[in-house]
């Protein structure tokens, strides 16, 4: 088999494995109180309840409360239908806004 065929096969197989793993592997669950500046730009998974929902024209801003220790953080998402009091599982990126840490939501599942 020549290098071209090997490279093509390796690319296709690599993409398939990447597709499977990237859809199934999630970041470790973490408590909101453990999120600090060192985690900036990293992805985290949080289980929380929604304490407050503010909807603007372009985004929805949530205040979420950790289910285990009641610590709180602000999380932002594109427009979404979530309600105050719902329990959710969130995967998101730690960002910094106005000198405080927030979560930019990538995936949200109501639990």
């Amino acid at each position: 088999m020549n290098l071209l065929k090997i490279a093509f096969l390796a690319t296709v197989i690599g993409i398939l494995i990447l597709a499977i793993l990237s859809q199934n592997l999630e970041p470790k669950s973490i408590s909101i109180s453990k999120i600090d500046l060192k985690m900036l730009d990293n992805y985290v998974k949080i289980s929380a309840s929604i304490k407050e929902v503010i909807k603007t024209d372009s985004i929805t801003i949530l205040t979420i409360k950790d289910l285990a220790d009641n610590s709180e953080i602000t999380a932002i998402m594109d427009k979404g239908d979530v309600l105050k009091g719902e329990n959710v599982e969130i995967i998101g990126r730690v960002i910094e806004y106005n000198e405080s840490l927030e979560i930019e939501i990538e995936k949200l599942k109501i639990i």
Binding site: A7, T11, G14, I15, I17, A19, L21, E26, P27, N42
Partner: protein, 398 residues
Amino acid sequence: MILSILIALSFGILAGILTGLAPGIHINLVALFLFIISTTLLKFTTPIILVVFIIAMTITHTFFDFLPSIFLGAPDESTALSVLPGHSMLLEGKGYEAIRITTFGSLIGVFLILAISPFFVLVLPWFYDITKKIMFFILIGASAFLILNEEKGKKFGAFLIFMLAGIIGIFSLNFYVVKQALFPMLTGLFGASMLVGSINKKVNLPKQSLTFEKIEKKEIVKATFSSIIAAPLCSFLPGIGAAQAAVIGSQFYKIKQKTFLLMLGIIGTLVAGLNFVALYAIGKPRSGVSVIVGKLLEINLSQLILLLIIMLVSGVIATFLVLRISKKFIFFIEKINYPKLCFWILVLLCFLTIAISGGFGLLILATATSLGILTNQMGIKKMHLMGCLLLPIILFYI
């Protein structure tokens, strides 16, 4: 104050040399680290001093990052396309000349930042508002333009490579357990694939010459003009970096390989500088380091002028330094067994991938390297591999 600025400038230049020379240590990482420790640092200094450090580091980095990309095949997103023309000059024994050209280009870039900035500040807010609404079409248009620009009989191949790179980009950038997925992805697509090629072909570098030909004035004018058109456009278009800007800019004229390298030098530095000016003009960061600058400081006009002076001073100092250091680099590279060096760099890149991105980063590195090798084997231009950034961004705008 002046002493603090000079100290920040000196350390910024040193940091830029380090980030430029060491494959894997990116300015974004250093800026992020600086931001993390900024609470402590700001007890002793002011935000503008930290920003001076970041600006000096960024500009110096744009001069030095051509050294690993040309000599070692370890590029970042702004120098990815320099691997091709730069490496072919290296194989002709003209590595030093390639570095001189990119350095000269970067120096022109620094002066262009000063010349363009006033106009840029005035026009950008208006232009940004218009383009924001049609960004999707601009990015599709730019991608189609690059694919259709491929030579006859290779257009479908270019499309295939663009799409495969895009798919790798989509899965890699959404692979939540991998940190800094860009590192293994770009290293695999542009650097590691070339290193594997050099090991496979047992490439031995010819003796490197320290002589160089002067670039014709006509070519300098062409490169400068094309860069002035392409770079400001690309400094605020997401996913279109210095490398793609050079390809788009090179369409205005039929240009030679050396002129392309000159353009890469100009655009790399020009885009890096204009990103900070854009932060002042529209308040939106367009690069990793400008995100950190935006968090540290809300730039006003007098601070912008100071930062432009810092860019100029760092650029002039970096010019002298890069020419001196590249001679030593050549002396070192001539003495060693090149395929062996490529092998050990490949090993180093694997370790860096694990350190920066974690074990799963190796999967991205391997897949991206395979696609890079496939692109080489098909004789398709490597610029289409930039689909790894463009396709995810296009999908974001749908």
